[in-house]
């Protein structure tokens, strides 16, 4: 009897230990109907057992982050549950039906031919059946992608639209006067430094094809724009005009960009090709125009202009025609980001007596709604590839960190795994293709 008690206790400790990516939710919004799903620890062979347990934590985070699921906690698992095995006939669905779980995820992880292989399964608890099965493999360095990819497949199966967990963010991090560009999984995993300039390098923007990053750097002493090729690691100049070269924004084809230059007196929006050729001016106004963002069809540009007396979000054709004001909620508006589905624009609003908060509005300008209410500064919104979440930089905890907000619910997650870095100015890349 005593032995059994000890065993249960150690099992409980094991379950607690596997939750190594606890989802910390600071709810700034309401949570609606969520799908309850259980993600018990994955198993592996001798060399992959730890990785398997870590992957179940990564996948649970991925699912919760979508805003579609609630993760059934291990203390709600069936009383006699002793972990999953490869014998799926042994799953006691009746016991699982007594828990809140409607779905159950399991994967077996092993090494084969230098690759990490995951046999992933999604079970429907209510009908006692496996409903998705997928074998995935990856380079060992990219092991976390196994969880991201299966999470995306689960979302695709249950909603008809794939998730966006297998995607990356780029951002700047470092101390004042010395910031570099970094790339990480969207959840902050597998952080890697992308520049080594020893200067101020900030505001990276992922190209829509995920192959390049445009950014601003003082590496040649002045604020110039560069494009980093992620395949070669080589940075080439995009714009080195006199004055300020600022706010690059990729066109959807990843071949041209909008950018902001002050060479003609005040800051105006220009467009040019990614190779640096073909510069043309898009705005002509006494006001200051900055922070462009393309619509996903490439036909429109949202940007910040103070031509109306204060900074507001304006829209115009991609050729600069028909400028019209979009933000009407009052206060000052900055940093527009057009959603990949084309429906919404996320932006930053500063209202008197409040901090800088993330808002979203319809792309046509109406239906403005506030997404964050933290006070302090929340800046640089960038959409997930599935247009469900927005990542942003925030000073809410004192130093600068990255957070995500689920647009529909207003639930805010800190981007985990990066607490040692002072991060800001995130940009969310596309779903990874390979």
């Amino acid at each position: 009897m005593k032995q059994l008690f000890l065993f249960s206790l150690s099992l409980a400790i094991a379950f607690c230990a596997q939750a190594q990516n606890p989802v910390q939710i600071t709810s700034e919004g309401a949570v609606g109907n969520l799908i309850p799903i259980a993600v018990p620890p994955f198993a592996g062979d001798a060399s992959t057992a730890q990785m398997a347990r870590d992957l179940s934590g990564v996948l649970a985070y991925d699912l919760e982050y979508t805003g579609l699921f609630t993760i059934v906690q291990s203390n709600q698992f069936p009383a006699n549950f002793q972990g999953m095995t490869q014998d799926f006939n042994a799953i006691n669905f009746e016991a699982w039906r007594a828990t809140p779980a409607e779905h159950l995820v399991y994967a077996y992880i092993f090494e084969q031919g230098g690759k990490i292989v995951a046999q992933c399964r999604l079970f429907d608890v209510l009908v006692s059946q496996q409903i998705v099965g997928q074998q995935l493999e990856t380079d060992p360095k990219a092991w976390r992608r196994l969880a991201h990819k299966f999470a995306d497949e689960i979302v695709r199966f249950l909603t008809g639209t794939p998730g966006a967990a297998d995607s990356e963010i780029c951002f700047s991090a470092g101390a004042n006067g010395k910031k570099e560009i970094y790339v990480a999984d969207y959840d902050g995993g597998t952080v890697r430094q992308a520049t080594q300039h020893g200067s101020i390098s900030i505001k990276p923007k992922f190209s829509p094809d995920g192959r390049k990053i445009a950014y601003l750097s003082y590496k040649d002493r002045f604020p110039f724009l560069y494009i980093l090729d992620l395949d070669t690691g080589v940075s080439t100049p995009l714009s080195k005009r006199v004055g300020l070269n600022n706010a690059p924004a990729w066109a959807p084809d990843s071949k041209s960009l909008a950018l902001c230059l002050s060479k003609d007196g005040n800051t105006e929006v220009y467009a040019k090709n990614a190779d640096g050729s073909g510069e043309r001016r898009l705005t002509n106004d006494k006001g200051s125009d900055t922070s462009p963002s393309f619509s996903p069809d490439g036909g429109q540009i949202a940007f910040v202009s103070d031509r109306g007396g204060k900074p507001d979000i304006w829209g115009m054709g991609a050729d600069g025609g028909n400028p019209h004001r979009l933000s009407t909620q009052g206060g000052k508006s900055y940093d527009p980001a057009w959603s990949p589905d084309g429906n919404s624009i996320a932006y930053v609003v500063e209202r008197s007596g409040e901090g800088f908060e993330i808002w979203a509005m319809d792309a046509s300008g109406g239906n403005a709604r506030q997404l964050t209410k933290s006070g302090g500064s929340n800046e640089s919104p960038s959409w997930s590839p599935d247009s469900r979440n927005v990542v942003f930089g925030s000073s809410r905890s004192g130093g600068w960190q990255l957070y995500g907000v689920t647009v529909e619910t207003g639930v805010v997650h800190p981007v985990p795994n990066m607490s040692s870095l002072r991060c800001e100015g995130p940009s969310w890349g596309p779903r990874r293709s390979k």
Binding site: N176, G177, K179, I200, I202, K203, L216, Y218, R221, F222, P223, G243, L244, N246, A247, C260, S262, N266, T267, S288, T290, S291, V304, P311, K332, Y334, D335, V348, E350, F356, S377, E379, S380, S395, G398, E424, G425
Partner: protein, 182 residues
């Protein structure tokens, strides 16, 4: 006899400057700062032929670049209100002094660096820092400084003087600094 450069600024304030004036008026040399302060021999009725500052025995600082960019004696930073590039009254006074000093070191090229506090987005603050620097450059030109002697750069919110997040730090960070152009 009239000195074209240092004397017609009208605002020569320090005893050191008075001493320099005296030296130049008496045709003495020994100051590197005099290089381009040509004395126009055709003008003899200058209104700056002050006779009182004749104490040529005083120690006189060299008005060179080391002096111009020294934190103690040189060009002083100016400060702005939040989200503004208007030049405040205190900034205008500092800029008058700065313009005089710049004109006393004629070959030096000055970089005006515009800075912001951390509030506001990085992109917006880069543009705001640029506007602050350009506003200062324009005002210095109005005060008689040649435009080709002042260049600008913006650092937005990237180089705070005080990295704290409070009103006192923000007030110190909304500034333009004057450095030697590289």
């Amino acid at each position: 006899m009239r000195l074209e450069n240092p004397m017609n600024t009208g605002v020569v304030r320090t005893a050191a400057m008075m001493a320099l004036v005296a030296v130049l008026l008496t045709g003495m040399t020994g100051c590197k700062g005099k290089k381009n302060t040509a004395i126009d021999p055709n003008l003899t009725n200058g209104n700056n032929s002050g006779g009182s500052e004749t104490s040529s025995g005083n120690e006189m600082p060299e008005m060179n670049e080391a002096w111009l960019f020294s934190p103690a004696t040189g060009l002083q930073a100016i400060y702005f209100d939040y989200d503004s590039y208007d030049l405040r009254t205190d900034a205008l006074a500092t800029l008058r002094d700065n313009a005089d000093k710049i004109k006393n070191v004629p070959n030096s090229v000055i970089q005006i660096a515009g800075h912001c506090d951390e509030r506001g987005t990085q992109e917006y603050n880069l543009a705001l820092g640029e506007k602050r620097a350009l506003a200062v450059r324009s005002h210095l030109m109005n005060l008689g400084v040649s435009g080709d002697r002042v260049v600008t750069i913006t650092y937005g919110e990237e180089m705070p003087a005080d990295a704290s997040s409070n009103e006192a730090a923000w007030a110190k960070n909304r500034r333009c600094e004057f450095n030697k152009a590289m």
